[in-house]
Symmetry: C2
Subunit: 641 residues, 2 copies
């Protein structure tokens, strides 16, 4: 970790803490005192300094920005607090403890470069989050901002709007190196996942690992899809072969990803890491009571009330939205019919283009509806008042997934099974897929980049006006203020959602449009670059998030793969080729389709059950650790007992 | 724990160890020395005495029977070794440690009655099992019985046939009390599960808990079934109502059982208990190598070889057996047709009875085939050479389940879906169910009881011949020899299997024969009594087995409930009432049936997912324990670090 050019040479700023410019002096003094105080006295024992005035000091610049850092010793004890796993000299991963620090592989001297900057920033965030009120009844200077013993001070300041933001600083040099090896070099190689994890933490690295894995997993499907598309293979047997391939492919890639992800998590030390007790999320409110687990005072909100809110408000709202989406879909079909009738009347060049217009408009409307619904879902989930961030996330993901799935695929299901028009299905699928890809790339990367670039130029120009800059590097003060203005990275939610929908397009209707996989592979190759670019250049650095897997998304993808099996079999069942084959008895046809579908579903579940979730060599290492700790305990007992 | 009337008043015999009568003195002396040796020297530090000669000493009576016990201190340290969980004074369950012993609820004075006798016996078994060879290369006196450092001595003696058996002793007084409250008193109350667990351990208690739970869960189904049977309700709507009820019932009772079982396991201290490292099972053989987990020398058998044996021999064998079972089924149908033709020719009283004969013969043949197959499956699974007992059990259960399921239900499926003869299905189901119940009760309880009773009488008569017995109690020596001759209890496998098949009869075809549930409830009421009786009077006491749930059987029951949903819907689809309803379009009928079935299956999985597996109050206690240990660690670090 290189020290940045700041007043105190022993102080490395890691995290920025910004209070509103009107914060009372009293409160600031109290907060800094609490942060600096020794741990024995209930403080966080961190270093904190105020950021000096920048070039725009005379303008409306916030003076209440603070840089937080910590001594090496404090960071190491913090690493023990958060339960960090690190690699030992013998190659195994163990929980770091200060007493055994010399057993760890990269621990040299004082342990200066032992922790990555992302880890240090995570530790500081954890220590700030668990800085608790003692006997204060309110924040000094603010009698309305109540405190009670054990309440997290930072969370209270955050929820009352006194603390505007808390974010980790970028490392210019590291970032340059990372972005060079990640997206600047045009090359045929894998992403530097370990470096990404080193800089952004495990949550980010898992997303990029999944993106890469998923893209490569699609390649065989894309390769098989091309001849199907080119040679118009549409026989019964070929359909079945493709559907079978699809089915096994879905199951196997998801199972293999689980194994790959377990081995990544093992090497990153998050697989067996124990989760710390989860604090209530900042927005959570309720009547003060005692938490049955910790025994600490904490707001309590009755579960029954939350369930009522969910079942009486949220569920009906989601259903209403689904109905609306259905309504919009019907309008689309009317437009489609109108365009077709115009084309049939006068088949000119412009009428030929007109045919695609309703699909494109519908695709744009779908994206807009998804966006609006997203805000509504966030508002509703917030209002449901979940105690834990994880439960909030799960409910949000569920709401958004259901609506997005319905919104994106309802029209396709309608065309496929009610209208039974395979040509329209193919055309609709292609238009939806391509339009949404273009829109996404634009909204996700280009727009924010352009905004950020303008901001960046403005700052450089402003600095240039005052001083001459030898190199193009900004001084720390300006750098911090620039980063404070950057957009906040909102997590991997939208990125995973996009991949989920793409997975849906590929797996649900791939029988009908085998080229979908090719389009998705192409999209994902650019997606890697644009996502990498936006992480490095557009957004504030996010705090690292020690994930052990992709969480609820694994489940979502698995659910989609089950739906895909059913859909593919239904598609085969209604295809004219198959109908011709069973021309004498439709009943026979359906019974066979259903029977084969059931067998394959059973086979799929069996396959998922039989493939172990953790690779054998990782399993052996985990058991060895457990065995060693049991043996050590036994030995200790024999010596002392 | 009451001391039995034996030479040394401080010695309570707990476990009996029987060596062959020809064992060499050298080996006996060495074994006893190793058992008595201090733990620091690698011994087991247990007490062991030879059993005195009984009344039949001059006859062919084995002199090499040994009683094993231990000091109170040794048992407590053993309890720590095996990771026993006990209730603390504050009501929480924690792992027992000798240093904190006074924090535990029932620990008084020396802790005399702290451990139940079953727990003491389990501890002694564990200590004997982990008594390892040091530098011996073979058992003294037997150069062919090889040893290597770290090899379990007892397991080697067992696999070479020198050790005949190792079993725990019954407690006469306890047993009397237990059997009185369990099955002697005719009463309407629940079984004394805690007492059963106290005497037999968690594995047994779980079986009886499940049996009781399952029986009560069947009661509503039986109650609903009666009017269906009496009033011949067979309309479409009623069918669907019953099938829906069936579906929700299956899912809900299995989920609720999971919760109930978790709360039982919590109170019995097995829920969060860590499993000790599993030793290879006695029959396992291979080339000597190093275990990658323990680093100990141990036989290694390549996994690829085992897979080859499974896929090239076991799987084809199972398939062959299934084919044979199919063949027998076809013979049954021929017999059935013949009996029917005889009855149609001359409808006399005897011909009326003749109709039932083929079903009864078939039911008996099914039971015999199951029995034979069981032995073959055991032989094959043994030959597959699994390293762990748990993996052996899983493979055995899988083999036996598949065959039993096929053997018992194939004919019913054939009648239902190929012959579509609902009258025959009903008759067949009833005959199979009733015959198998009668056979089972006889084979399981009556026959072994009668054999044991004869043996018991013989022993009492023999003792009477020599001495006059004041009371009818046998002296310890005779008691031990009597128990040594009792049959070995082979575990809960057959009992669970029986319940599994009954569950199949109830859930698969309950639409057609709603009375099945009534029969099963009646059977299970007597089953509780006969199982309890056989545990108390017929078999050797088994070692307790610290289970946290019913293991692989939960999965088996869940799989059956999924099959039940599919079967019930198929039955509804082919019922004449439903066909009449959709008389214009058979396709429409099938499509609707399949669609509803898919929705219900999805609903079933959602329900299983939404109902938490552990009740909330147990979850809170578990989190509290975890939180406390994290906090304690942090506090310790702050004080010392």
């Amino acid at each position: 970790m290189e020290s940045l050019d700041y007043c105190d040479p022993g102080f490395t700023p890691l995290v920025v803490l910004e209070l509103t410019s009107e914060t009372k002096e009293e409160a600031i003094g109290w907060l800094l005192r609490r942060i600096r105080d020794l741990q024995q006295n209930g403080g966080a024992e961190l270093l904190v300094e105020q950021l000096g005035p920048g070039v725009g000091a005379q303008e409306k610049e916030n003076p209440n920005m603070f840089l937080v850092g910590a001594s090496q010793q404090r960071l190491l004890s913090g690493a023990e607090d958060v339960g960090l796993f690190k690699e030992c000299s013998d190659g195994s991963m163990r929980a770091f403890t200060c007493t055994n620090k010399h057993k760890f592989k990269d621990f040299k001297g004082d342990g200066d470069s032992f922790l990555s900057m992302a880890e240090c920033q995570y530790i500081i965030k954890h220590e700030l989050d668990t800085l608790r009120a003692r006997d204060e009844t309110h924040v000094p200077g603010y009698t309305e901002v109540k405190l009670y013993p054990g309440k997290s001070i930072i969370r209270r300041l955050q929820s009352k709007g006194i603390l505007i933001q808390l974010f980790p600083l970028h490392e210019k040099e590291e970032l340059k190196r990372l972005s060079f090896s990640w997206y600047k070099k045009v090359k045929l190689s894998f992403q530097p996942l370990d470096d990404i994890r080193h800089y952004y933490g495990e949550g980010q690295a898992f997303y990029f690992g999944f993106l890469e894995y998923f893209t490569f997993a699609l390649v065989p499907m894309a390769l098989i899809g091309v001849p199907y598309y080119l040679f118009d293979w549409e026989g019964y047997d070929k359909y079945v072969v493709f559907a079978m391939f699809n089915l096994i492919w879905c199951t196997v890639i998801l199972e293999l990803w689980k194994r790959y992800s377990a081995s990544l998590a093992y090497h990153w030390g998050t697989l067996s890491r124990k989760k710390a007790f989860e604090e209530p999320r900042p927005g959570f409110h309720g009547v003060l009571g005692f938490n049955p687990v910790t025994g600490r005072e904490e707001p309590i909100y009755p579960n029954a009330k939350r369930q009522l809110r969910i079942y009486l408000v949220s569920v009906p709202f989601v259903l209403l939205c689904l109905y609306l989406s259905l309504y919009v879909m019907m309008i689309y079909f009317q437009m489609e019919a109108w365009a077709l009738s115009v084309h049939d009347d006068e088949p000119t060049f412009w009428a030929g283009i007109l045919i695609f217009i309703p699909s494109i408009i519908y695709a744009v409307v779908i994206e807009i509806m998804n966006l609006i619904y997203r805000y509504a879902a966030e508002f509703l989930t917030e209002w449901e008042n979940h105690r834990l961030e994880s439960s909030y996330q799960n409910h949000l993901v569920l709401k958004v997934l259901v609506f997005n799935f319905f919104n994106c695929f309802a029209s396709l299901f309608y065309i496929a099974f009610v209208m039974q028009d395979m040509v329209l299905l193919r055309q609709s699928l292609a238009t939806l897929l391509i339009t949404s890809q273009i829109l996404n790339q634009f909204m996700e990367a280009c727009l924010p980049y352009w905004l950020q670039r303008r901001r960046n130029k403005k700052m450089i120009n402003r600095v240039r006006k005052r001083r001459t800059l030898e190199d193009k590097e900004l001084p720390l003060v300006e750098q911090v203020r620039l980063e404070a203005d950057m957009s906040m990275y909102l997590g991997t939610f939208d990125d995973y959602l996009e991949q989920f929908l793409l997975f849906g397009y590929v797996s649900l209707f791939s029988c009908v449009y085998p080229l979908a996989a090719v389009l998705v592979v192409l999209n994902n190759f650019t997606e890697v670059y644009s996502d990498a670019f936006k992480m490095c250049r557009v957004f504030k650095r996010p705090f690292s998030d020690p994930a052990a897997n992709i969480g609820v998304w694994q489940l979502a993808f698995e659910a989609m793969s089950v739906i895909a099996v059913v859909t593919n079999f239904a598609l085969i069942g209604i295809s004219p080729q198959v109908k011709a084959y069973f021309s004498d008895s439709e009943t026979q046809l359906i019974l066979w389709t259903v029977a084969i579908e059931h067998v394959l579903l059973a086979f799929k579940f069996l396959l998922a059950f039989l493939i172990p979730d953790i690779p054998k060599h990782i399993q052996i290492r985990l058991s060895r650790l457990e065995f060693e700790s049991l043996e050590a305990l036994k030995k200790k007992r024999l010596l002392h007992g």
